[in-house]
Symmetry: C2
Subunit: 141 residues, 2 copies
């Protein structure tokens, strides 16, 4: 349930390779969610070269280490973003431009625990994402 020691926010697990550095740098420079394909395109556009398969592999690894947040588009595409806050949180995502805020939801956490207990469910996990139009995109309408 709880992490014992202070986890490194950006602790690379494997070797320190060029492609790993590029992907991480790309994610760091960006504050909205991107798909693996988009990220790969961004790398190419930046004049760098990392194969798509490798981008997938690195994102997968970072996901397992909890270094990136992952969410799924309505049509099943995975979107990634570097965690700003290593702790548990949710997102308020703009469905137009991809911008996102990390939000806390203490109320919701409690609700989930209560509901789960009520039905006798254990080993609870939850997915909570809020989509909308950010102020800028709302105004652009």
């Amino acid at each position: 349930m709880s992490e014992a020691s202070g986890a490194q926010a950006t602790a690379p697990k494997g070797r320190n390779t060029r492609q790993k550095r590029i992907v991480e740098q790309m994610l760091t420079g960006r504050e909205d969610f991107v798909s693996a394909q988009e990220l790969h395109q961004l790398i190419v556009d930046a004049g760098e070269s990392v194969s798509l398969a490798t981008v997938y592999r690195i994102l997968q690894a970072q996901q397992q280490d909890g270094l990136v947040d992952v969410l799924r588009t309505a049509d099943g595409e995975a979107l990634y973003r570097k965690c700003a806050d290593p702790g548990h949180h949710h997102h308020l995502v703009c469905r137009r431009c991809g911008a996102a805020e990390e939000v806390q939801a203490p109320t919701v956490e409690k609700w989930a625990d209560r509901i789960a207990a009520e039905y006798g469910y254990t080993e609870i996990e939850h997915t909570i994402e809020v989509f909308g139009l950010c102020p800028r995109c709302s105004a652009a309408d």
Copy 2:
């Protein structure tokens, strides 16, 4: 917030075909989430015959008409279930057996609205799913 007239729970939109009836019947008889592929297999197992493509087409249509709930597995697979409650609700899903409870989350709705307002987001939508092990599966451990 509330539906004015009593909406038909199972109002078919297009023609009343054999395959549509089979798919609907299959969904009605089942109270947990199933993927399109599983549903197709269930149909085959029941000695009926509806092509996989058609199962996909029917589910897609029902989804648009709001007759089925859709959620996504962690690896992006779409799971479907006939809506028991036509109103807005969320799910408490067993990640082992697929059983699911429909739960109300007034607290959460308010939280989402509040958060959205706080950041100036408009046209809010949200996705909230709670996964865990149902009592039966918890016991089976």
